[in-house]
Symmetry: D2
Subunit: 262 residues, 4 copies
């Protein structure tokens, strides 16, 4: 699958401000970035640093005044796909060291509080079958309601309110998975078919010895997502983090499936 991606950010900074930008499709084996361009306004400082798990890059920028960033790329997705329901479980004591951090509770995913629920609701299931049941539980119990959550909404809040947007679906699935000792991380992605068009976010679960993208909203397919970055939750992979006052004026995202080799 080939994707054509375009994103425009239009911000304004009243004073010189440090920004962290993470907006580009990551150049990693599972997806080939064929061509890409990132246009930034003249800035006092621009520096690239590796992003979490070496998936993609974060860009440090020091900016002032109007800030218009335009990114576009063509990406060919060639990740291995699997029916997650069939994947075997990995017992915790056999988990690789680099996945352990993704067992821990994080800012928006307080998995330490969900063990009883997960045991009671999904007891008896394991591995991929368990992950699929969790995904389906969320899909069946949540409503997708734009505007129903805020930037500090946690999975505990969403579990109670039973509504949210992609980040909330992802946070809840990650929280459930960690409570069942399945490593789970948050992936910021580009995907076609997201309604309304925007950046998208899904969970990525460690099953059968590898990471697998799982979208509890059902809006996107793992074979048609371009990863921007991963982290413990939304706190780690914000598109733009400003260390100071920022005014968002506009933001547009367009993702088009070009077809092509899967």
């Amino acid at each position: 699958m080939r994707l054509s991606v375009r994103a425009e950010l239009d911000y304004s900074f009243a004073a010189p401000t440090d920004l962290l930008l993470q907006i580009e499709a990551a150049a990693i084996p599972e997806q080939i970035v064929e061509d890409s361009s990132l246009l930034l306004p003249p800035c006092a400082h621009v520096a690239r640093v590796a992003a979490q798990d070496d998936i993609g890059e974060r860009i440090w920028i020091r900016a002032e005044g109007r800030f218009l960033a335009t990114y576009q790329a063509t990406v060919t997705i060639q990740r291995l796909l699997a029916d997650i329901a069939t994947l075997p479980s990995v017992p915790p004591h056999m988990l690789p060291g680099e996945t352990v951090a993704y067992l821990m509770p994080s800012r928006f995913c307080p998995s330490d509080r969900f063990r009883t629920f997960v045991d009671a609701e999904f007891g008896g299931l394991e591995g991929g079958a368990l992950a699929a049941a969790m995904r389906d539980w969320i899909a069946g119990h949540f409503s997708y309601v734009p505007g129903s959550s805020q930037s500090d909404t946690t999975a505990q809040d969403s579990f109670v309110s039973r509504q949210g947007i992609c980040r909330d679906y992802a946070h809840t699935l990650i929280t459930f998975a960690r409570a069942a000792a399945i490593p789970a991380r948050y992936a910021s992605v580009y995907a076609p078919g997201v309604e309304p068009p925007d950046f998208h976010a899904v969970a990525e679960l460690f099953l059968g010895g590898a990471w697998h993208l799982v979208d509890a909203t059902g809006m996107a397919e793992p074979g048609a997502m371009a990863k921007i970055g991963v982290g413990r939750d939304a706190a780690d992979v914000a598109i733009l983090t400003a260390y100071g006052c920022a005014e968002m004026r506009a933001q547009t995202v367009t993702v088009e499936a070009l077809g092509g080799a899967a």
Copy 2:
């Protein structure tokens, strides 16, 4: 400074349970582990994985029944020390990539909510002077009250209740620091002089281009702490994490300063 360290954990597991144990002083350049021994009961499975930032190791264990672990070591501390109040600040856009994750809010450190407070209370200060002011603010406003916090107490809870134990002091300092764009992580350590004797925890702040241990409780000195591990907050470096039911029967920690080369 040389430390003699001894810890005994006495747990019981009714069913076969996966454990994550992180109890040994890390073998890293800033501290030499001269001798050490870790005695574990016969277990179905024991595997070591690198811990966070490659500081120390986590041990995966599958255990059942009585679980008695005894660790002892002699550690020579030779870390570079500094008067943190004099350290220069590093502007966010010049931070190394590996420190960026420690700017983000985490489970017990919701730094995203503290920017206004930090700006208002500490505005005008930077770098080490700012960090020292934050440490002193906590020391001056908090009371050390064993039993006043639980395993899910956050820095927001502690900020309101104004009391806690070492983990709460560390979480609050980490939260303040991140809100001011200073990378901050949580260090689990052995230190003499902790009252009552127990594992200890402090903040570690990235100042002047390096990490510096800072103890807002005032109980321990950076030159006399043996690091066990680091993480975003207490969720990452629990001494023992059980994926199942655990009963803690007893836990004792002894740390003795042997003196010697600083």
Copy 3:
């Protein structure tokens, strides 16, 4: 049903402290307090004020040093009982004014967050059938675990952790009921059969034009409970509230069913 009730509180106050004590079975039409005695130590000040909804009394006390209070009473319960599942609903717009406060969220019952859950889980049910379904849902999904909650645990916390003690069961039922526009209050009671023996707490729901006691723990029967007081939640009807430092040394409660006219 006649109950023999006895409670002993043993506290200690290092400095002169204002206390609010609410420990006596209320003298109200639905229960006859045949005989009762409350023994207090000599105190600087004792004053009785009517408690919430004029059900029982609160006692203001100014005490210092050792504080030993002993209460005993014989109470005949003669409340009207009903199978709550059969009670009709009262549409909100026909609710009496004095019940309206019990529709509102309170400290431990954030019912404003539970509307979506309640609609989704119990949609289609009304009045007593709805209340019974909520009670049964809690009984079926929660585990009664002494020590699993703290004094500031909310119904939202319990809903996630799926465990608690009588106050948590009551808070959760109250929260569900209010979210469905059924007035619900918290009743502090004496009841036989509570294990371990202690003060007990249940929900009281306004159904079919009257208040009905409902115990989601299943430990006590409405016909065998002596009401101490009611409130919006546990915050309103603590047995003892101290405005200063209090040390609880011991507390014992004994409730015996004497049989007799129902």
Copy 4:
């Protein structure tokens, strides 16, 4: 002081919905409602019930479709005013029974968590002097930022974020006061000078044996406020509470000081 008050609510209800409306200036001794009119659309059901503490009325309405309510009134304020800093304290054990409920924590005012802070920050002060210090602390540490809080923001959230609107200022002052054993309730009012023009909310503290309005935002004077109703916090005195889906289309409030007898 005479006030001319006008409020228009424009809502829409897709299905028949029960509403609770509390929008009229209360007819109570401290303020004379000289003339008033409330225009409602034809509704299936309209019933008045006494509001909390018998201050004003709540109106139950069953409505469907477009709902346009227009209220206007002229109110003469003749409440007794005092310099609150000079008012004596009432020791808790001498508080009248009807004020006791206003010592308890509530949904948005978790005063149980603030005792340590209040003791540390305001220790040594009592009664009116304490209340004035609390009011001034909030005025000095908070910023008035429209849009910075949501409908479920608590005083704990505001204490950390240090910003909010009138409800948040009132909640924080109420929380502080209750933590110091001063009864405190929430008053929904009309007041001139509110920017932007809207319904207003302030704290009302029980000092020197009577209730006194205190506005920590500094926007309104007790002698120029027309009370709509009181409650434990904003949960109790919402202008409009809908038991079902509501769409707010527009809401306008105009309050004009006509001068006249104070």
